[in-house]
C-alpha cells in the first residue's frame, strides 16, 4: 500500500529529542507516517523503539521537538480526543487482578463513553467485533490471568481494536508467542490494515516477518533512524552486518517474494 509522495503525513514526529535522566535516548529524530500503511519499527534491544512509539502516542513527552497528528500538535490535544484517534498497546502491560476478557475489551471504549455515561449500542457492537476478529469470543468470560500468553496477547489486541481508532500502535505483539500465533497476529494486523484502512505501526524483532507483513521498515540504532524504506531496500546483508551485527545471506522468499535472511555468524569487531 504505497501512497503517492505528495500526500500529507498522518502522523509526524519532528526533531524529537528525549532523555531519561540526561541520557539521550532519541536524538533529533524525525519520522513521517502516511495514512493507511503498515510500518515496522526494528532495531536491537535498547535502540529506542518502545520510547519512540510511546512518544508518538504521547505517553512520553519529548524534551525537544513535537509530534503532529493530522497537522495538530498532540501535546496540545486532550488525552481523550487523542485516544479516539490512536490506540497503543504497550510492550508488557500489567495484568490486573480478576478481570475477564470481556471486561478488558470493554475498557477500550473508555475514550468514547468517558467516565460517566453508559455503554451504547455502537460500543457493544465495537466490543463484539473486536472479540470476533481476534477470535476471542469463546474466551470472553475467562479471567485474563487464566489464559495462555498468546490468548492474553490477543485479548489486549482486542482491547486496542475496540478503541476503533484510525491509528494503531503495537509494541512487540508477537513476543512470547509460538510461530502459529505469531502469524495469526500478523495476519490480523494486515487484515485490519486492508479491510479497515487502519494505519499501523508495529515494533517487531523478527526481520523476516517484518519484511513479509510491513510496507515499510524503519530501523533504529542508538536513538536514530539508520534505515527507512521498503523491505527490499532495508533487509540487506549490509544492514544486517552494520546494524544487527550478524553475517547473513539475504534471499527472496519463494512464496511471498519478500526478502528473507539466513543468519550465519556474529560479527566480531576487531580490536
Amino acid at each position: 500500500m504505497k501512497e503517492d509522495q505528495s500526500q500529507k503525513p498522518l502522523l509526524e514526529a519532528q526533531n524529537i529529542e528525549l532523555r531519561y535522566n540526561d541520557k539521550p535516548i532519541l536524538k533529533e529524530l524525525s519520522m513521517d507516517i502516511l495514512s493507511g500503511g503498515v510500518t515496522a519499527l526494528l532495531g536491537t534491544n535498547g535502540s529506542g523503539k518502545s520510547t519512540l512509539l510511546k512518544t508518538m502516542a504521547r505517553l512520553l513527552m519529548p524534551q525537544k521537538g513535537c509530534v503532529y497528528l493530522d497537522g495538530h500538535a498532540i501535546a496540545k490535544e486532550s488525552p481523550r480526543s487523542l485516544a479516539r484517534k490512536m490506540a497503543i498497546l504497550p510492550q508488557s502491560p500489567e495484568v490486573p487482578m480478576a478481570i475477564t476478557v470481556r471486561e478488558l475489551v470493554e475498557q477500550g471504549r473508555y475514550p468514547h463513553v468517558g467516565p460517566l455515561r453508559m455503554l451504547k449500542k455502537q460500543d457493544h457492537a465495537a466490543i463484539e467485533e473486536a472479540l470476533e476478529v481476534t477470535g476471542m469470543q469463546a474466551f470472553e468470560q475467562r479471567p485474563l490471568d487464566s489464559l495462555s500468553g498468546g490468548e492474553r496477547q490477543r485479548a489486549w489486541i482486542a482491547m486496542a481494536i475496540a478503541q476503533s481508532t484510525p491509528v494503531l500502535m503495537l509494541d512487540e505483539p508477537t513476543t512470547f508467542l509460538d510461530v502459529r500465533h505469531q502469524l495469526e497476529i500478523l495476519e490480523l494486523v494486515r487484515r485490519l490494515n486492508q479491510e479497515r484502512g487502519t494505519t499501523i505501526i508495529v515494533v517487531l524483532h523478527d526481520l523476516n516477518q517484518a519484511a513479509r507483513y510491513a510496507d515499510r521498515m524503519v530501523v533504529l540504532k542508538d536513538g536514530r533512524i539508520v534505515r527507512d524504506g521498503t523491505p527490499d531496500r532495508v533487509l540487506t546483508e549490509a544492514v544486517l552486518q552494520e546494524v544487527f551485527g550478524i553475517h547473513a545471506t539475504v534471499l527472496k522468499d519463494p512464496v511471498a517474494g519478500t526478502p528473507i535472511f539466513l543468519p550465519h555468524s556474529v560479527v566480531h569487531r576487531e580490536g
Binding site: 488525552p79 490486573p96 487482578m97 475514550p111
Partner: protein, 310 residues
C-alpha cells in the same frame, strides 16, 4: 436501637418510632441518642469505605488508606492546639476547626506529592506528614494540663458517643456531595487498574484523575474526622472484604458494596462499643482498630497463601 440501657423491646420500639409512644426516657434515648448515632455511623462508615476503594485503586496500592493522607493527623493536631492552648472557640465550632486541620493536612500531602508519578510517593509523603503531625500532637499535649489532655484523648480515639442530630446535619451535606462523586469514579478506576500507561493510552488524564480522587478523599475523611474523630481500619477492611468475598475487582461493584459494608461495620462496631461493657463505653475507634488490625493480617495472609504474587 433496642439494645443498651434502657433496654427497649421490639414492640415498644415500634410504638416509639411510628406512633410517638413509649415513656419519655425511652423516647429520648432512642430518638435523640441512638437513632442519630446509627445514621451518623452509616454515613461515616459508607464514606470511609468509599475512601478506601478510591485510594487503593487510584494509587494502585492495596494498603492505601485515609490514615495516610495526613487528614486525620491534621485534624488531630488542630484539635490539640485548640484544646490545649485554650483557644476560645465554642464547643460547636470545634468540628469546623478539625475539618480545617484535616483539609490542611490533606492539602500538604497532595501538594507535596503533586507531579510525582508513583503512588508510592504519595504514601511515603503521607506517612511522613502523619508522623510529624502526630509528633506535634504529643508535643502539644505535654504542654497542656492533664485536664485538657484527657479531653483531647476522647477526640483522638474516634467516637460516636454523645452525637446528636446536629452532627448528622453537619455530615449530611458532605455525604450528599462526596458519595455520588466517589461512585462516579468507578469507570476511571477500572481503566486505572490496567496500569498508568495503558490508562493514559485510553485517554485517562492520569495525574488529573488522581488529584481529583485525592481531593474527594480528603474532603470525605476530613468531614468524618471532624464529626466522629479518627476511625481506623474501616476504609482498609471494607474494600478488601468485599473483594475477597466476591472475587470481584470491578470498581462499579466494589465501590457501592464497600460503602454498604463500611456502614454496616461501623454501626456494628458502635453497637458493640455501646453494649459490650455496659454501662461503660469503649470508643468505637478503639474497637475498629482492635478488630481491624487482626482482620487485615488474616486477609493478607490468606491472599499470600492463595496467590503466588500480585
Amino acid at each position: 436501637m433496642k439494645h443498651g440501657y434502657p433496654e427497649i423491646s421490639w414492640s415498644s420500639l415500634q410504638q416509639l418510632l411510628f406512633f410517638n409512644g413509649g415513656t419519655e426516657l425511652e423516647r429520648v434515648s432512642v430518638l435523640e441518642i441512638r437513632f442519630p448515632r446509627i445514621v451518623l455511623g452509616c454515613m461515616a462508615g459508607a464514606m470511609l469505605g468509599l475512601c478506601g476503594v478510591l485510594l487503593q485503586d487510584g494509587l494502585r496500592n492495596s494498603l492505601a488508606g485515609p490514615e495516610l493522607l495526613g487528614v486525620s493527623s491534621g485534624a488531630s493536631f488542630m484539635m490539640a492546639l485548640v484544646t490545649v492552648l485554650h483557644v476560645p472557640v465554642s464547643y460547636g465550632m470545634q468540628p469546623w476547626f478539625a475539618l480545617l486541620g484535616g483539609l490542611i493536612g490533606g492539602a500538604v500531602v497532595i501538594l507535596a506529592a503533586g507531579g510525582r508519578n508513583g503512588g508510592i510517593h504519595i504514601i511515603l509523603i503521607g506517612a511522613a506528614v502523619t508522623a510529624i503531625m502526630n509528633g506535634l500532637v504529643v508535643w502539644v499535649i505535654t504542654m497542656g494540663s492533664s485536664n485538657s489532655a484527657s479531653l483531647l484523648f476522647t477526640f483522638l480515639m474516634g467516637n460516636l458517643a454523645n452525637r446528636n442530630w446536629t452532627h448528622v446535619g453537619h455530615l449530611l451535606p458532605w455525604a450528599l456531595v462526596t458519595i455520588p462523586l466517589s461512585l462516579s469514579f468507578a469507570r476511571s478506576l477500572n481503566v486505572l487498574r490496567l496500569g498508568s500507561e495503558t490508562a493514559e493510552g485510553l485517554g485517562l488524564h492520569f495525574m488529573r484523575v488522581r488529584i481529583y480522587l485525592l481531593i474527594v478523599c480528603c474532603a470525605m475523611t476530613a468531614a468524618v474526622v471532624s464529626q466522629c474523630g479518627p476511625i481506623g481500619y474501616i476504609a482498609l477492611i471494607a474494600p478488601h472484604l468485599i473483594r475477597s468475598l466476591s472475587q470481584q475487582y470491578d470498581a462499579k461493584f466494589v465501590l457501592p458494596f464497600s460503602a454498604m459494608l463500611g456502614a454496616v461495620l461501623l454501626t456494628t462496631a458502635d453497637i458493640l462499643a455501646r453494649t459490650m461493657f455496659m454501662p461503660r463505653e469503649v470508643p468505637v475507634g478503639l474497637w475498629t482498630t482492635l478488630i481491624g488490625g487482626p482482620v487485615i493480617i488474616a486477609l493478607f495472609l490468606r491472599k499470600l497463601g492463595g496467590r503466588p504474587s500480585e
